[in-house]
Every structure is written in structure tokens, then in C-alpha cells.
Subunit: 276 residues, 2 copies
């Protein structure tokens, strides 16, 4: 069952208008988050990010945080996901419009929420630096918009290199993020992650990991990261709200599987938070 | 009436699945072209570009050029556009898929075609160079994909500057294109247009104008264009398959309305081709 504009519908009943600007122009936003045993983790943070992004794009958000929590709870229940782990996706578009770039003045937004069972991934993965670049010159690189094709292509490129995750540089040649995740590198005893201004999505899991590292007394730096530094990294971590923290066990040719346990420490702390 | 996957439907009957990757991930392509008195102009060129792009993205195109021409003719007829000027939009997506970036192996593409009356625009416009950059580091900058939000935002930014059209630089600071069009600048007696590698869509109208300029014996160069050169330009032209060739009468503060008639010469030749 799928939530569409206030109604919970069967997949066959649910319908997007072909004139929806989310479909025609990627004029929309989304969030993905995980529910642990039926409880969405950091739903408020995802709602806040969606609200801020909608404000920035001058897009209406037809729901408040409480209504969203109720809708998600109902959706988990009707899909019998209220006891298991689930992936929740919230999609917001500007609504329908006539052909052309200019949004109509009185458009009604489209809100779709889906919930599906979450299938856990291993804690480690292989990764490759791909050719396709992140567009640090657009504000959309810092928003989770529907214009996600570059991520799709980056993931495909990594796959053709035999890697599970794609790492993207920006046009200035700095490390930005992974196709599905934010990136952290352990350099010496400092945990380094690229700044948002390098074309990075401000991930909720990224913030959670920054908070956890701070709580654990780790030295953390947000700064530009040349790809050469990845070769010096003792550990490379990818973070997102679904798979939490994955360690890169191999980056291109290089073996990174012998980390010093940082990932495990952060992962345990993350899971303790999520289990609260 | 709208064409969806082989059927011509009323707007209320026409339905996009919320799991369509065109909607969820902008995993699709589109073409827009103009019909003159019921006859699509350069439909074959648009089909070829769509086919090449679909091949590059490993996406199925469930129709050949003849079937497309038949579908467009039928759509123009049922919409009573077979005698007027019309905008035709062809949208192709990879089809539906489960959540996540990886395309399912056996997905069935979605093809939507719309036709609406074309309302002519004036031959001149105002333009502004906007902040948002074109991503020359992604192959999608050279394909007409559904990931069109940057264009929407660029057009909005121009509007807030009081301009009708947005001109975008790429991340290397070179002129790339307009939000809705390709760009040509008359520098001395040479017509200059940025190369595709600078993050430029290979527009069908762009090719048509290059051919026309060649036929007219004009000197044409495809080369990188620093924005400072736009200040030296005697004329700046924007081209797309709908509005054909618009002259920029004012770029940011600068008046450009006193061109030497190049635009008119090209426009007349373009219209003669379209009227054939």
C-alpha cells in the first residue's frame, strides 16, 4: 500500500499524473529513512531537511511533522511493517503543471510515501572512484532532489568496475560523496568528511556520525579532501540512513580491510541510538 | 489526449506508476519539438538523439522512427492540432522498479507523448547570467534527461533578475548554454558556440543553425567561450526547437538590441526550412 496525497492506496490504484513536474522535470525532493522494529529513526530530522529544501525551492509541503509521523505509522501498519525493519521513502513534488520550466502560480504539491521491508547489507563493501562528477556549482548538489540520474549512472559505473559503491569527485577534483552515501576518511587520528560546499548532501546519517564522533571524543574535520588523501586513509566509511555505516574494504585496487576498529565503534554507537 | 505506452488516453485516464523510475529518480529522457501546420519539424533528428541517448543509458526504446511518426500524427489529429503549430514532447523512462538505484534487469520502458498548441514568443528576449552552474563533469549535461531541476532553478533565478532567459556557465567558468536553449555569439564576423564538452546539450536547433550558417557561408566556430567575450559580442542568439532563434536584446545591464541583422538572416532561413 502506498500513501498518495492523504490516501493509502493499493499500488494499482495509486497514480501519478503524467503532467506532474516530479515526472516531467524532476521538480521535487525526497527523503529515505529506516524504521527499526516499526519505529522511524530521526523522522523529525528528515522532515526538517525536507521542509528547508522545500522552502529553498519555493515548494509547498502539505503536511506538518505530526501529520507525517501519523501517515508513516499508518503506512507501516497497513504494510505489516510495524515490527520489522523498513525503508521509508517520502517524495514531494511541486505538483502538476503545463509544459515548460516556469511553475504555475497555484500548483498543488504531490506527496507520496512508500514503506518496504529493509534487507540488511553487509557492514563492508568495495568501492571505486567513478568518472562522473558531482556538480558543486548547483544548489541541488546539497539537496535531495528527484534529479537523481547522476547517482544512478555513478552506481552503474562502479558496478561495471566490479565495485559495490561509487565515490564521486566534484568538478574541482575533490572527493564529494558516494552515489548512495556520505563519506568519511580516517586520516591519522582525525575523521575527515568533505564540507557541504564541495557538492555534498547534508546527510542525516552524516550528522548522526558527526555527533557520535564528537561524543566519543574523536577529532573530526569537515574539509576538502583531495582523492590522493584517500590513498593514505586508514579507514573509509560510507554513511546513509539505510545501511548506517559501511566500511570500504577495497577502494579500486587497494585493500583497506585491516582498519583499526573505528567503524565498529561508530557503528555500535549508531545502532545503540537507533535501538533506543 | 495523451499517448502512454501505445494507447491514446484522456488526461484523467493517463497514469504514471509511482514506482516509475522517471518519477522516483529522473531515470529517463525527453525530447521537445515543434510541429508547423501539423508537420513535426526534424522528428527524425529528435528520434535519433533519443535513440542514441537511450543506448548510452542502456535504456530500451519501445518504438522505431516510423511508429513514432505515426503516434505523433495520431496525437496531433485527436488533439485537433493537425493544422496549427504544436509543441510535441516525447518522454521515455526506464520503467518501474523497486526502491534503490540499481535498475531491475527486466524493466519495461514507459513512453509518453503529449501535444499542445504552440504559442509563439517574441523574437527578442532579455537574459541574465545566473549563479547555478552546468555540470560539464557528467554525461547527463550532454543528454536531454528528466533531471531538469537545475534548468528550472536557473530559469527562476533569471526571472528574479528581471530577465526572461538564463545563461549558465559551467564549473570551469565557461559559457555553456541557456536554461532552455543553446547559445551563439557573434564575435567579430565569426559565429561562436560552446562545444558539447563544455556541458552543452547537442540541440537539434543548434545543429540546424550550424548547417544554415554553413550554407550561408558564415564563419562558425565551436569553442569554449569565456563570459567576458559575451561583453564583446555584437549579437547573442539563443536557439531551441520551439522558439527557433531568439536574439538577446539585453544581457544583464547591457543593451544588445542594435545587432547587424544576423539573427534575422538565420531566422528567415530557419523558417524557410521549417515551412518546406
Amino acid at each position: 500500500m502506498i500513501y498518495v496525497n492523504g490516501r493509502v492506496l493499493s499500488p494499482l490504484e495509486a497514480r501519478i499524473d503524467p503532467a506532474d513536474r516530479g515526472f516531467t522535470l524532476a521538480d521535487g525532493l525526497f527523503e529515505t529513512l529506516r524504521a527499526y522494529r516499526g519505529r522511524p529513526f530521526r523522522l523529525n530530522a528528515h522532515f526538517d531537511r525536507l521542509k528547508r529544501a522545500a522552502d529553498e525551492l519555493d515548494m509547498l509541503l502539505p503536511i506538518d511533522g505530526t501529520m507525517l509521523a501519523d501517515a508513516v505509522a499508518e503506512l507501516l501498519a497497513v504494510n505489516r511493517l510495524d515490527n520489522g525493519d523498513a525503508t521509508i521513502r517520502i517524495t514531494l513534488t511541486r505538483g502538476t503543471g503545463p509544459r515548460g520550466l516556469a511553475p504555475p502560480p497555484d500548483t498543488k504539491p504531490t506527496l507520496v510515501i512508500t514503506a518496504t521491508a529493509y534487507a540488511a547489507l553487509p557492514d563492508t563493501c568495495t568501492a571505486a572512484i567513478v568518472d562522473i562528477r558531482r556538480n558543486e556549482g548547483s544548489p541541488t548538489s546539497r539537496l535531495k532532489t528527484l534529479a537523481y540520474l547522476d547517482n544512478v549512472l555513478a552506481a552503474g559505473e562502479a558496478g561495471r568496475c566490479g565495485a559495490e559503491e561509487a565515490i564521486l569527485l566534484n568538478n574541482a577534483g575533490r572527493v564529494a560523496c558516494a552515489a548512495r552515501a556520505n563519506l568519511f576518511a580516517l586520516l591519522g587520528d582525525r575523521l575527515v568528511t568533505p564540507p557541504i560546499s564541495d557538492g555534498v548532501l547534508p546527510g542525516i546519517a552524516r550528522w548522526t556520525v558527526l555527533d557520535i564522533a564528537d561524543d566519543l571524543g574523536m577529532a573530526v574535520e569537515e574539509r576538502s579532501l583531495p582523492p590522493a588523501e584517500l590513498e593514505q586513509a586508514r579507514e573509509i566509511l560510507l554513511t546513509n540512513s539505510l545501511f548506517e555505516i559501511r566500511s570500504v574494504a577495497r577502494l579500486d585496487g587497494r585493500d583497506l580491510s585491516g582498519g583499526d576498529g573505528l567503524a565498529m565503534k561508530l557503528r555500535n554507537a549508531y545502532r545503540a541510538l537507533a535501538a533506543q
